[in-house]
């Protein structure tokens, strides 16, 4: 699989890069926890994705790039999660997210050696079609009602609107999918590092690729505004503190690079362990890992 991936990008003249796994700063996303490391008495973080480092290369004029690397996320383990996993991440210059979805279809077609059908549906349409909910107008109670109807044994009063959306998309809507499905145009609150759509400020130019109900990839038209990016990092850190999570140092090198100007591009990260599960028709990630920390013993 890795050979074919390299061949795909080499044929398109993408540069393969290799960025550090240890960093002095890390991702501030409130739902992604970094693993702390330390070296030479300095606190460091294992990177949750190579995104910031790769974007700095783009600013330096690298042209389109790709990388196959390991990424680390604490507190994630299960049938389709592992604290250490493998990512393929790439950035295509002068692409927007729609062109990037097309390119992903080509890549996956080559990996599977067949032209597979892909479905595309917007995030808004998902809720409309499968739950009859209008995302823009539905009240929190309507979201909670849907959760009560579809998800067993949960105290809905503790759930925010965003929690309900996460649960419904992964546990109800996702289960209706078969084969490869792109969900695109995520709500602006879930923009992450994506650009807000000019024609509709309520959504971000972000997509995710699913196989059945399993999430495989997350991509965007990249946000190139340094000041907006800084504001998002700071908002994340504020929310982290309010929720009793560690706040993380903001990646100043990355923000400085953005100020110099990130070229127009779209980028995506694709989970290779999960893609391999799909290719080999395996049901659990443990089957594609050499060392599975799930097997580590329970603390005494």
């Amino acid at each position: 699989m890795v050979k074919k991936i390299r061949a795909f990008f080499d044929a398109r003249d993408y540069l393969e890069v290799d960025t550090p796994l240890l960093g002095v700063s890390t991702n501030t996303d409130i739902h992604i926890q970094s693993i702390r490391a330390s070296a030479c008495n300095q606190p460091l973080y294992l990177q949750t994705s190579p995104e910031f480092a790769m974007k700095r290369l783009l600013v330096e004029g690298s042209g389109s790039i790709y990388q196959i690397c390991h990424a680390f996320r604490d507190e994630e383990k299960g049938r389709t999660h592992h604290p250490e996993f493998t990512l393929l991440e790439w950035y295509s210059l002068n692409f927007d997210y729609v062109a990037l979805m097309d390119q992903m279809e080509q890549l996956i077609g080559e990996l599977f050696e067949s032209s597979l059908p892909f479905t595309r549906i917007s995030y808004f349409e998902c809720f409309q079609r499968y739950l009859g909910l209008d995302l823009h107008t539905a009240a929190l109670d309507q979201f909670r009602d849907q959760v009560t109807q579809h998800i067993t044994g949960i105290d809905v009063l503790q759930l925010s609107r965003a929690d309900c959306m996460d649960l419904l998309i992964s546990q109800m809507i996702g289960k209706q999918f078969s084969g490869f499905t792109f969900i695109y145009d995520y709500p602006a609150e879930q923009a992450s590092l994506a650009r807000i759509k000019q024609s509709n400020p309520l959504v971000a130019e972000r997509f995710e690729l699913f196989y059945g109900e399993m999430e495989l990839a997350n991509g965007f038209s990249e946000l190139t505004h340094a000041s907006e990016q800084r504001a998002r990092f700071e908002r994340d850190n504020q929310t982290r503190t309010e929720n009793g999570l560690n706040s993380y140092p903001v990646d100043e090198d990355f923000l400085q690079a953005l100020e110099q100007g990130l070229p127009d591009c779209a980028g995506v990260a694709l989970g290779l362990d999960r893609l391999l599960m799909v290719l080999l028709e395996l049901n659990a990630m443990s089957a594609v890992l050499v060392l599975d920390t799930q097997q580590l013993p329970l603390r005494p």
Partner: protein
Amino acid sequence: MASYSTNEFRGGLKVMMDGDPCSIIENEFVKPGKGQAFNRVKIRNLKTGRVLEKTFKSGESLEGADVIDISMQYLYDDGEFYHFMVPDTFEQYPADRNSVGDANIWLKAQDMYEVTLYNGAPLAITPPNFVELTIVETDPGLRGDTAQGGTKPAKLESGAVVKVPLFLEIGETVRVDTRSGDYMSRVKG
């Protein structure tokens, strides 16, 4: 008792939920890449035996339950309690009819059973998956009928009634699966 967070949940862990001791059967971690993580948990209430599905926000925790499984020898039934003993320490535990439940038909004095203790008192009794018991009551055997594979009811020394092949006689020992109540084979004494 320690408390356990959702990422420590795994099959067999005993926790308290809604005031009852429960055993976790399955824990599935679900998380959108950039969203809130949840754990969907299958959990058995050890008092009622009922299996429930629960969804937790990841990071929530449950108190551990003081529940342990100990292998004990069954001694006798005094009409109110079934008495079990830990062979090493000779400690005895009376188990009421409720806790023994349907397992009573497999109890035979001297044999070993898994006793689940909750706060030091028997909560449930689990017989081994396979037991060997002697037939105490059945219709006379019909020799020559062995090929046909017919069955007849036979009462075993523990009180269970199972279907056995026609050729078996009173006094013979059979191997039975306690989960299904099915006859497995004849045991040659």
